[in-house]
Symmetry: C2
Subunit: 585 residues, 2 copies
């Protein structure tokens, strides 16, 4: 059936998965909350070939209603739910990686779940199916990965509940995970997100056709309750702006859908359609089981406990969020990143700008945005050579090879890449644009999406030998705070800035009485400059003195003549730009 709404859900069907395999683990499985399963079967698919070292395996983890089929295996195969990300030549490149994806424990697409026959009774488990957790789901995946001969996964990648599985893998099986890609997830759900799931489960479990979960074989199942739960889910997957875009122009003209549900409003017909599609392909008990696993996922109710959960991880992280995702808002992803940086774990982070809401992790247009980040993190193709720039040459001259460096406002990562070429134990950039973060990551260097107007990511004290602020300070409101933070996380800070008391600017102001206008690339009019701070060299030195900061080195430049200001000159008059090396008190 053609989806009249072009929704992400439309590619899913209940058709058998042609390339699905099944692994059988006959030994009893003790579950985290106390139940036991006499044995489990796991439905999975693989793509590509495991290399000789068994080092190229990538595990894909699916979300609540996904399955083991993220991508088609050949042209005749049905499309998968992550077709834009997984496949030959794609970010998760099946020509390079051995890709594994399995249906979760508790599911209804081949892996043991509530619809499976309980060998003790000869009947489906139904409500007898024990409570499963994300940890149980991951432990079953671990059995599969072991069976496939993989000791250590090159990467684990997942969005939403898939992201929770990635977090669980990285913290429970730290020796088995090289890179962890956590998309649109969190350390625990918001109370609001749990509340929506509670209402959905209540709709299912109060449906008279639920029969306390033992509806198998009755000819009935709680299709109304499950459809209601799915409708509600769909609202939370979309942003309000996206719903407006999709349904507002013709809001009073619903599509002519065959349904027992309300037939008003175009958004109503969409929900009815989604509900109907879903009940044809998903089991209500599985929906209850898997949403409960997600709601119970909890890496700690306090920051301290969450830090404790993350402490064991040894992987390289990539965290991705979506600006309009209100089910797993970017603030939750930033909190994950803060835990990782606090623990000194390598992490890249990017918030993708989109109106797609939580669904973005499945939307082709948004996958196009974040795929380069995943590709870079999974082991980049040969990066482009870094561009050289005079300002960077000067900074490189001040940093001894082998130093760890944080570059605030790292642009495309050219300075960091040049530092890397000289050898560096730890490099990281901070930027605000997806394109610049992707460009930096393509050098194999971590970059974090962070607004310097807020401050710095939560690195530990003295994490870096040098923190570079090159042409950055003049655009932030919180100069003192940013300097303090730079000198907290770095042993030294290198601050590059335009000297607004340069002779030509003084003349402009002193004689002409016009606001000084810096030369070169930072030349704007007073009324349209992005800059908001206009310090002279002396101003900056005064501030350092006030803050008790030691100026360890200072280089002053006449950029027009490309020369260093000599000792016999007054730099505050003669220099166009300055580089100060600062050390904390």
């Amino acid at each position: 059936m053609v989806d009249p709404f072009e929704s992400t859900d439309s590619v899913r069907s209940a058709a058998p998965l042609r390339y699905m395999q099944t692994a059988v683990f006959p030994e009893p499985l003790r579950l985290r909350h106390g139940g036991t399963l006499p044995g489990v079967e796991v439905a999975y698919e693989t793509y590509g070939t495991l290399d000789e070292n068994r080092s190229n395996a990538v595990l894909i983890c699916h979300a609540v209603t996904g399955d083991s089929h993220p991508a088609r295996h050949d042209e005749d195969d049905d499309p998968g739910w992550w077709e834009g990300l997984v496949g030959p030549g794609k970010a998760v490149d099946t020509d390079r990686f051995f890709v594994i994806c399995s249906n979760v424990l508790g599911g209804c697409r081949g892996t043991t779940g509530p619809g499976t026959i309980n060998p003790a009774t000869g009947m489906p488990y139904g409500s007898e199916f024990p409570l499963v957790t994300v940890e149980d789901i991951v432990d079953v995946q671990k059995k599969l990965v072991d069976l496939l001969g993989v000791k250590r996964l090159h990467a684990v990648v997942g969005g939403s509940l898939g992201g929770h599985q990635v977090l669980s893998w990285a913290t429970r099986h730290p020796d088995c995970v090289g890179t962890a890609v956590v998309i649109a997830a969190s350390a625990r759900l918001t109370a609001q997100a749990i509340a929506f799931d509670v209402v959905g489960r209540n709709a299912i479990q109060t449906d008279p056709q639920f029969h306390g979960g033992q509806y198998y074989g009755t000819g009935e199942h709680p299709r109304t309750g499950l459809a209601l739960a799915r409708m509600l889910g769909h609202i939370t997957y979309l942003s309000s702006d996206a719903m407006t875009r999709k349904f507002d122009l013709d809001r009073h003209a619903p599509r002519d859908i065959v349904t027992d549900f309300e037939k008003r409003f175009s958004v109503g017909s969409y929900l009815a359609y989604q509900g109907k599609q879903f009940v044809g392909r998903f089991d209500a008990n599985s929906y209850v089981a898997i949403t409960l696993a997600m709601d119970n996922f909890d890496l700690g109710d306090t920051r301290e406990r969450r830090l404790e959960s993350f402490r064991a991880a040894k992987c390289d992280w990539l965290v991705i969020s979506f600006s309009s995702d209100w089910l797993f808002p970017p603030s939750q992803s930033r909190e994950l990143v803060a835990l990782m940086t606090t623990l000194g774990q390598p992490v890249s982070y990017c918030e993708i700008d989109t109106d797609g809401g939580h669904d973005s992790f499945l939307l082709r247009k948004d996958i196009e945005q974040f795929a380069p980040l995943v590709e870079a993190k999974l082991g980049a193709r040969k990066p482009r050579p870094p561009r050289e720039a005079r300002e960077d040459d000067r900074i490189l001259d001040l940093i001894p090879p082998g130093s760890s460096v944080l570059d605030l406002g790292c642009g495309e990562g050219d300075l960091l890449a040049r530092l890397q070429a000289r050898g560096a134990p730890l490099l990281c950039g901070v930027e605000v644009s997806t394109a610049l973060i992707a460009a930096t990551m393509q050098h194999g260097i971590d970059a974090i999406d962070y607004d310097l107007n807020v401050g710095l990511p939560e690195f530990t004290d003295d994490r870096f030998d040098y923190v570079v602020l090159s042409s950055t300070l003049q655009a932030v409101p919180n100069v003192e705070h940013l300097l303090e933070e730079a000198l907290r996380v770095g042993r030294r800070a290198i601050v590059g800035f335009t000297n607004f008391a340069h002779q030509t600017l003084r003349e402009m102001f002193g004689l002409e009485g016009r606001a000084p206008k810096a030369p070169g690339p930072y030349s704007y009019e007073w009324y349209n400059t992005p800059n908001r701070r206009f310090p002279s060299i002396q101003d900056m030195l005064d501030l350092c003195e006030k803050m008790g900061v030691t100026v360890e080195d200072a280089r002053y430049y006449d950029d027009t003549q490309d020369r260093i200001i000599g000792d016999d000159e007054d730099p505050n008059l003669a220099a166009e730009t300055a580089l100060l090396v600062l050390r904390k008190p």
Copy 2:
């Protein structure tokens, strides 16, 4: 029963309303969507006394599940749903006003609704009850107001669906409304808000005990479906932050509630409790009827059609929104304000900063914030005398009495109040803080909550004789745009600013090489000033020339010596501050 969650809903009960009266209108009522009711009864309460001129009546409009009882009538009476706003000495002062509140058409608290006996059948209407609209609800209220002898309401006040009723009153019965107070409402619901209602109605209407709406007398009613709808509603009434605050510390410790619903998570027990409370006091058919009225409320699908809807209004508006309201987000209220300003209708607007979500209009702590705005708009107590300031003296000197003025960054409205004292056809302020907006409104002058970094409210061209920007320009990024806008909506703009090329500042910069620091109240260090633009008089004159703006008058001041700079002096060197009167090209 004591509410274990201290929720806003706990004050509501199904107890009979002791002061409720009933008005009977036996004539047939034709409804907007084609149905007819053979007659209607309206349940209402009144407070205070109608004055001789019948000019002090205030109509209160309730939200989806409210009733005719906004406040207690005496100490023994049950508290009402708007106790913080309505009562003796309160913002809607029952000592001054004759307050009317009626239960809406379609309701279940005394006014004709689906549970009323249909005289044609002798049975309750049930699903035979015709589709009602907000317009129908208001037309029935109009009958009541007529019956009470009120030709023109001093004010109509309402939040949420109550706000929709206010909008409908003002646009359908323009001669009957003096002041309209629209709280947490919109010209039409978002697609997302409709979607939540659709799911709620589907839960009710698919409940087997709904019996197609004809459940009266069966001993059953769709309590499960209605409870589900209410749970869902409650999620949308709270902000995510408020839910976190209420339910996150003990998320795995639900209250011990007697319920058939899921017993996990503290937020789950809250929803179960709210659902149960609600089904005991509300009728499912009324819930369906009233939410449908709200979802169908639509003042136009395009801006042009919405303008057409608002064109007839003759009232004085107050619009209030809540920062964390995502069901009726502040952007929708700003859009209402834009329609009003575009049409030249007098309006005050304020966005209350709160984490209370949509519920804020009922929360005591938030009522405390917005009550002063309502009180001021309904006819202030005697305002405090305006404070005099030298800068204002100078501006007053430039504005002929009888001019209309918009003050951008109006503070507490002192300049505007002094202009008012001299006589002015139209005055308005723009500010960003609730306290400053309330202070301005206490003078009986409109103030609009608007971020000048975005621009100006959508006033029509030449709406004001003068637009004042006093010590404002230096703090905005978009100087040109703001000046353009000021000269669009005003015939003239008066721009007051500090001259950063004043002699002492030039010396500071030219000789000392330090960033100039303005004297007086705008004196900050370069690294912590809220200012981001540092123009000299010459800079500003240059910009005017570039923009083709005529400088009609210019006053230059030596503030230290409190004297006007003479013609023989160079103002760009001698003046500390300047006032320019600008006229558009």
